[in-house]
């Protein structure tokens, strides 16, 4: 249906073409989370790969910072409808992390788990080949706790709830198990270009 009297705010094509359906452009950085922001001291922080791996591996904060890092400049889209273009992050590619473990051939899915108990599920095939990273800087500055610091997962081609804040590890599994929002009405996959917002979309 046409909304009577609605014209909308037109964006230049160069911007409009980068906005997934239903999304609008923001220049600030909205904060969304389901509960209080966790504040884990860095000396008690670790990052772990576990589940269907030959042997689990863990890094301390200092060890993690010594891993080869990369700058990623990506567009991000939140299921609450905002899209932010050209966000700049520094972090460690999931490809780099995976060099430290022997993945079981039956590992097809990943659960990212976080301080505070948050989890989200992703297909392994969508986390490799430069598609996902663990970020600890945003815009050349230390990642703020409200935005997921000290470190968060970033998977820019999926809605941003998949980019788990306060992430502490990845668990590899054979089956796709719903995470926190995926158990509460949100889509198992979450592709913004297909508008996979909610269960059944």
């Amino acid at each position: 249906m046409i909304s009577r009297g609605f014209l909308g705010r037109k964006r230049p094509a160069a911007v409009a073409n980068r906005l997934p359906p239903g999304q609008y452009l923001v220049t600030d950085f909205p904060v969304l989370s389901a509960g209080p922001t966790p504040h884990t001291p860095l000396d008690r922080w670790s990052f772990t790969l576990e589940g269907l791996v030959g042997a689990p591996v863990s890094w301390t904060w200092d060890e993690f910072l010594k891993l080869p890092s990369q700058v990623f400049t990506v567009d991000i889209s939140c299921v609450t409808k905002w899209t932010k273009l050209d966000t700049k992050w520094l972090g460690v590619s999931v490809d780099t992390l995976l060099q430290s473990v022997q993945l079981d051939p039956t590992a097809h899915y990943v659960t990212a788990f976080s301080d505070g108990g948050y989890t989200t599920n992703l297909p392994l095939a969508e986390m490799v080949n430069g598609q996902a990273f663990i970020a600890y800087q945003f815009d050349d500055k230390t990642l703020e706790p409200e935005h997921g610091g000290p470190a968060r997962l970033v998977v820019p081609h999926l809605y941003f709830w998949k980019s788990a804040k306060w992430v502490r590890g990845l668990r590899f599994a054979a089956r796709d198990e719903p995470g926190f929002w995926e158990s509460l009405g949100y889509n198992m996959h979450g592709d913004p270009w297909k508008e996979e917002r909610y269960t059944g979309d």
């Binding site: 909304s3 999304q23 609008y24 909205p30 209080p36 909610y198």
Partner: protein, 246 residues
Amino acid sequence: MQPAVEWQIGTVTRIRTEASQTKTLTVALPNWVAHRPGQHYDVRLTAPDGYRTERSYSIASEPERVGEIDFTVEQIDDGEVSPYLDDVLVTGDQLEVRGPIGGYFVWDVSLGGPLLLVGGGSGVVPLMAMLRHRAAQHSSIPARLLYSSRSADDVIYGAELDTLAAADDALEVILTFTRRAPPGWTGYQRRIDPAMLSDVLQQLGEGVRTYVCGPTLLVEAVSNALVAMGQPAERIRTERFGPTGK
């Protein structure tokens, strides 16, 4: 797998001014389903050239009201959708929506209490759905609403909150004003702080369930303070809007 939440075309049946820059729209829905207080709907607007945009709005009404829902919309300066909803829509217009959506920032009487609701600005809207539901169920679960507004003109649902609290010994509504209190005001006149939260928590006792909704700075301050006071993080549910404000 659950079926998708489908778009439907509702009809605006009533529009009323709630507060400065804030209106409530009542929308009758052909495929109404009972929501859980705290849930939202997506609204989709389509221009004649096919351009579309969407936003989410909390449901203000209680699920006991069958067949229609209320949205309370605060107009954002320079916004794309809220000025349309508040200033262009008239009674009889159609509005495309889908919902209800969201399964975490929800409360109903089956979850029990005591209940602490903390709201800032239009963050009071989903909390109001919880209070209206609690009243419709004649629940005696102890409840407190701590509600921060800039000034008296910005208080949403002021008269109804007075009526609800006056009729209910188990409910108290505590307002605070951050810019300008009304003449003769003897209550709080500052941002919500730990001292305020501590007063309210003492009245409620053990096992409190807390829902905080408002601008990010308020939600961060309130939820951090509650955790510092020993409230378990898993009993504090938050919903935020706006940037970090830094």
